[in-house]
């Protein structure tokens, strides 16, 4: 099983939630996982209902069976200073560089450098070993940039190649690339059963494959149960309105005769059922599309009350049931 799990997905699909649930699921039964975010949104802190994460690895949750989830918000500026310190022993020089605007240049403007720093930090955590010679983290889960940018983000080598053909940045990019392209890494896509996210997922997977990056699973998020299909709804609308009104009436929802409360509920309820059936049909088509991608497909149900901490554990348990870990 891969040790670096990169989670991407179109905006609004819940990739941060899924990344967090995956980190929890992987930590189950005594494992240690590190959950990292790279976009400075503090989405992890919000999910785990804690204050903003500093640039520091800290435990944010316990997983069932004695596992631990640690979290880190990777900040490119700190990552660069870290890097300078680690490789060049340049602690104080960092501050001077910052004053000059060089850090700003490297982390926000120089193309690709920012990404090398972010992915580089994640890869460092993957490879880090403790004094006992064992990996410090069993797994690293990354809440990565959205589908539209993921291939470019991970393909740091390509981004940097035209820019730094030799030198330390080049070498760092090479080292990062070796991890990212190895079976140690898996890139997962989060999607909804809607047209645009599914299309982006298919496009994104195509791009990852074209660039030789390892694809993992597709996680369908916020799946709602299919209760009625078109045939049932239309049959009902054709000939069962009065009977449905009666059934509603029996259930204590008012009178079933014309103009009665139960009778007046029938039309709006059928209308909702029609919309539901239309969605069910669209979802079926999207699911078929996803199945065609040839990757494992896992589904997470919609939490109707929104995702709180308890919901996150439920999603983690759900993932664990489906995902061979």
């Amino acid at each position: 099983m891969s040790r670096l799990h990169v989670v991407s997905g179109k905006g609004g699909t819940g990739k941060t939630t899924v990344a967090a649930a995956l980190a929890l699921a992987l930590a189950t039964d005594g494992r240690r996982t590190l959950l990292v975010e790279v976009e400075g949104r503090q989405g992890i802190a919000q999910l785990f209902e804690t204050g903003a994460l500093p640039y520091e690895e800290r435990k944010i949750a316990s997983a069932p069976g004695g596992g631990e989830v640690h979290a880190l918000a990777i900040d490119p500026e700190f990552a660069l200073l870290d890097y300078l310190h680690m490789f060049y022993k340049m602690g104080s020089a960092g501050r001077a560089l910052k004053k000059l605007g060089a850090i700003d240049f490297a982390t926000t403007i120089a193309p690709g450098l920012r990404d090398v720093l972010l992915t580089g930090k994640a890869c460092e955590a993957v490879r880090r070993k403790g004094k006992d010679g064992r990996f410090v983290y069993d797994f690293v889960v990354m809440d990565a940039p959205p589908t539209g940018r993921i291939t470019r983000f991970l393909n740091v080598n390509h981004e940097v190649a035209g820019l730094a053909r030799t030198g330390p940045i080049h070498n760092q990019a090479q080292a990062v690339m070796r991890v990212l392209k190895s079976p140690e890494t898996a890139v997962h896509m989060v999607t909804l059963l809607e047209e645009m996210p599914v299309q982006e997922t298919a496009d994104g997977i195509g791009e990852l494959r074209a660039d030789g990056l390892p694809t993992g699973a597709v996680i369908v998020n916020m799946v709602r149960p299919a209760i009625l299909d078109h045939a049932a709804v239309e049959a009902a609308a054709q000939g069962q309105r009065a009977a449905v009104a009666k059934a509603l009436s029996q259930a204590g929802l008012g009178g079933a005769r014309r103009g009665g409360l139960a009778e007046r509920l029938v039309d709006p309820l059928l209308e909702q059922a029609r919309e539901h059936a239309e969605r069910v049909a669209l979802e079926r088509a999207q699911r078929a599309e996803l199945t065609g991608l040839g990757l494992p497909l896992y589904e997470l149900e919609l939490l109707t009350d929104g995702v709180d901490l308890a919901g996150l554990y439920r999603l983690a348990a759900d993932l664990r049931k489906q995902w061979p870990m």
Binding site: G40, D104, A164, M196, L228, A236, Q250, G252, A256, T304
Partner: protein, 466 residues
């Protein structure tokens, strides 16, 4: 929703106002920003404006339906728009690299432009710099505005990872390009090699040495060459960036923050609202997409679920002894053809007796519905016959309704949280469509929903059941 005191955003009035020259749609990814921008464009054009929509990354099918799937960085007239009010719609998809290239070509002499375009650092910068897309969208907006060919420009913004990127891009690129650091980098190239270093203090020269060590000598040289070649354009960049920034602050501009009624999207929207206020950008309001409604909102989720449970219990009993106490139910195939008027009053009268006491009226109600329904219609979905099938259906309808009401409640809670924080921001709600929008009629429908929401919000709720 009626519980919120937020003023309503009247998008039709905004689009109709000749003073409105620029509408900027911003918000986090996945909230329907591009669709909103396109729908506003269609609506404005069909109500007489000569509008152009600048989109960043439209879904393929939407782009195709508007005829802008070819990336040529030039606005194209959109076919199929109703021009009877005298309006037109043009649309274009932004090609950021091309916009950057054009900028260079327009601001440097041909030889210098060639040198810049061929520079590896420039090539990466123009294609990949995190803020390039944002900056170039603003640059293109400035260009379109300067051409004065349209009386309304609607801009979709890139799906920035944060609100800051979009507003900061002009400043950031500008400050980088004529900042201290690049001057230091340029120094040797400008005055011809290391000799130039003597003008800088030792600290700075050590610093460039360090930077060179980290970046690598070759990259360093590329940046230097690039900076030297761009030198004459720096002033241009800064001026343009500042002009665009002022254009955004001008009275003819209206910002629309787009969101979906979800926690994260609205949190981002609130952040945007605050940021726009801090930068004194004119905010017109919030467009809240994909809001769910219900024609049966008077029936609460709890009551719907309780009713579904009551019916399920009845069904469970019926399935234990389906015919014992209900002999008339035995042959449902028999009673259909003769009774082709499902609205007939007879059976309803029976039920009237039944609901006086729902408990004891249960069996009576079943009899009545058996007599009432043409079984042909439900035969495919339930071979058991109509009474239980109608009840099962009712259970499903009630469960679907409960689910819908839970969604509604959640959406109202998140919406309410937003309006509590920002009561002054006008809001327009757009009712959710079951599927994706990818043609003009879909965009038209969104535009209508945007306009209609005023009436919907004003509608008095029907009295509650029970």
């Amino acid at each position: 929703m009626s519980m919120d005191m937020a003023p309503r955003l009247d998008t039709d009035a905004l689009l109709a106002d000749p003073e409105t020259r620029i509408v900027v749609c911003c918000g986090s990814g996945g909230v329907g920003k591009t669709t909103t921008a396109a729908a506003l464009g269609v609506r404005a054009a069909e109500r007489g404006r000569k509008a152009v929509v600048l989109t960043i990354d439209p879904a393929r099918r939407l782009a195709q339906s508007m005829g802008i799937d070819a990336l040529d960085n030039v606005p194209r007239r959109v076919e199929g728009i109703d021009g009877s009010a005298g309006g037109e719609l043009h649309a274009m998809m932004l090609d950021m690299k091309r916009t950057f290239d054009e900028f260079v070509e327009a601001h440097a002499d041909p030889e210098r432009a060639r040198a810049i375009l061929a520079n590896p650092f420039y090539q990466s910068l123009s294609a990949g710099f995190a803020g390039t897309q944002e900056y170039m969208a603003m640059e293109k907006l400035g260009q379109l505005r300067a051409r004065d060919e349209w009386d309304l420009i609607i801009v979709d913004t890139p799906p920035s990872r944060s609100a800051l990127d979009f507003l900061d891009a002009p400043k950031r690129l500008g400050s980088f390009l004529d900042g201290k650091f690049i001057k230091v980098l340029m120094a040797p190239a400008k005055v011809g090699g290391r000799a130039g270093m003597k003008f800088l203090n030792v600290g700075v020269s050590m610093m460039t040495g360090t930077v060179s060590k980290v970046l690598g000598g070759q990259l360093m040289r590329d940046v230097q060459t690039f900076a030297a070649a761009m030198d004459t354009m720096f002033g241009g960049f800064r001026t343009r960036a500042e002009a665009t920034y002022r254009l955004l602050q001008a009275p003819g501009t209206a910002f629309l923050v787009v969101a979906a009624p979800e926690r994260d999207a609205l949190r981002e929207a609130a952040y945007f609202v605050e940021r726009l206020a801090a930068d004194r950008m004119p905010l017109a309001g919030l467009v809240l997409n994909r809001v769910h409604g219900s024609g049966a909102a008077q029936l609460s989720a709890e009551r719907a679920l309780a009713a579904a449970e009551t019916l399920s219990l009845g069904l469970a009993e019926a399935s234990v002894a389906p015919t014992a106490d209900d002999p008339e139910n035995d042959d449902p195939e028999n009673d259909g053809p003769g009774n082709d008027d499902p609205e007939s009053d007879g059976p309803e009268n029976l039920v009237e007796g039944g609901i006086v006491d729902p408990g004891s009226g249960n069996a009576q109600g079943q009899n009545a519905s058996a007599a009432d329904d043409p079984p042909a219609a439900d035969a495919p979905s339930d071979p058991d016959g109509s009474p239980t099938s109608a009840e099962r259906l009712a259970v499903d309808l009630l469960r679907l309704h409960a689910e819908r009401m839970q969604v509604l409640a959640r959406e109202q809670r998140t919406h309410h949280r937003f309006t509590t924080l920002h009561p002054e921001v006008p809001v327009a709600e757009v009712a959710a469509l079951p599927g994706d929008v990818h043609d003009l009629s879909g965009l038209r429908a969104i535009g209508e929903r945007l306009a209609e929401q005023t009436e919907q919000q004003q509608a008095t709720p029907t009295p509650a059941v029970g």
